[in-house]
Amino acid sequence: SSLFVFPHKLILKTCGTTTLLLGLQRLLHIAAQHAGFPFANASRATDIKAAATPYRVFYSRKNFLFPDKQQGPHRSWKQEVKYLDDMFEGGSAYMVGKMNGDHWYLYITSPNESITPPRTPEENDGRGHIARIPASILRGADEPSDETLEILMTDLDEENAKQFYLDNASALASEQLAARAQKARDEARQSLGDLTNGQQIDEDVDVFSNGSDAEAPEQVLTEALTTEGHALGTVVSEACGLSNVYPTSRYPDARVDAYLFSPCGFSANGVVPAAPQGNAEDGKSSSIHYFTVHVTPEPNCSFASFETNVPGGQSGRTTSEIIEHVVDIFKPGRFSVTLFEAKGRAADPNVANEGKLPSTSSQRLLAPVPGYRRLDRIVHDFEDYDLVFRFYEKE
């Protein structure tokens, strides 16, 4: 599970039998009391009933696999929607995809303009025409685009999924440590050989590698690096290719925090400062994005998810490249892709596009995914967002 905290929004993604929505009331209270956002239901922010008024809310999930094992309001979509409807006004609930197959649920509220009224809902274009301004422009010209790509994968390749088990990762970590130790010994021998003009120096090297004083700490370190969740998470992240989804060659300041669970399971969060733009004054960008990965490798319920708000294209990797890379890591039997994108100039409703897809979002997902056939392709044209849903199955 993961939590991302931005100045203006919070993203919470939780797995298994977690009771995500039961934390919602407390979340709204914290936003009021500790972050100072406008609140309702109380006269003072310190009052436990004080709940910050959200600007907008999104809640989504894949279809249920084991609803009977879920807790709180999470046993059915109907209960989840009721819980959200009781807390927020004007929410809308959707089901996207095959009802009798893999589908995806979404709950969304409209923007609460009473919190931050739009700059001008309508402006004269100077030729006597009134033009409605897209929401993304109303937010301010300096605001980055908002998009979220989510890939939900099931029926993972069983052999490939073994890399997300602790036993396999520990063995891999041990091999890597042994290789590094050997390399260090070789380098030490070489250095000492240079210093002693090639005389026999093995005994000197052994002082470092096998001496009784150094043995205990080395063993402790080895054990830590082959059992500790974060250490193994890093090993797995690099071995499976996740660390290269946003490679440091293109995203030099990207950082991944990964954890391997015992006996199996894997989670990772990535923070990805934007790739340097050519026209940036200092060669850097202030926008920082995220990605998150969660893996359940057991064959009876295998699942992996990848989610990111790193904008596709521009100076970084395209959306199609990311999808292909991620799918190749997990090798699922089936997967869905959702791309949720704020409308911008490209999707200005005043631009004539009758009968066409509502934005460039769908076009960005047109590239086929090698080894998979697309079964579903659904486009939702919301007020200020476009949603593209696609479902694929292994050929």
Partner: protein, 89 residues
């Protein structure tokens, strides 16, 4: 000597939780995803809000909320504009 720049994400590990975690009873991967916005962007926070908005909230406050969700904080990757918490479950 390597000295990270100011904007470099910083990782903190919660060893107390991370060391003793056992996920043997976890069974279902598909997640629930909640996104709550309190303003349209980081640059349009309401006047009453802390300058850093939600990022001004300490990790201790989130712990209480996450207890209700049945999650624990394993580690935090802090950066200038987003804090990424890796959670149990």
């Amino acid at each position: 000597t390597f000295s990270p720049s100011e904007g470099t994400p910083h990782l903190t590990i919660n060893h107390d939780v991370a060391a003793e975690l056992d996920s043997s009873n976890a069974f279902e991967g598909p997640e629930k995803l909640l996104e709550v916005w309190f303003a349209p962007s980081p640059t349009s926070l309401p006047p009453s809000a802390q300058p850093n908005g939600l990022k001004a909230v300490s990790a201790d406050e989130w712990v209480g909320m996450l207890d209700m969700v049945n999650c624990k904080i394993l580690s935090v990757l802090e950066s200038e504009t987003v804090d990424a918490y890796l959670l149990s479950e």
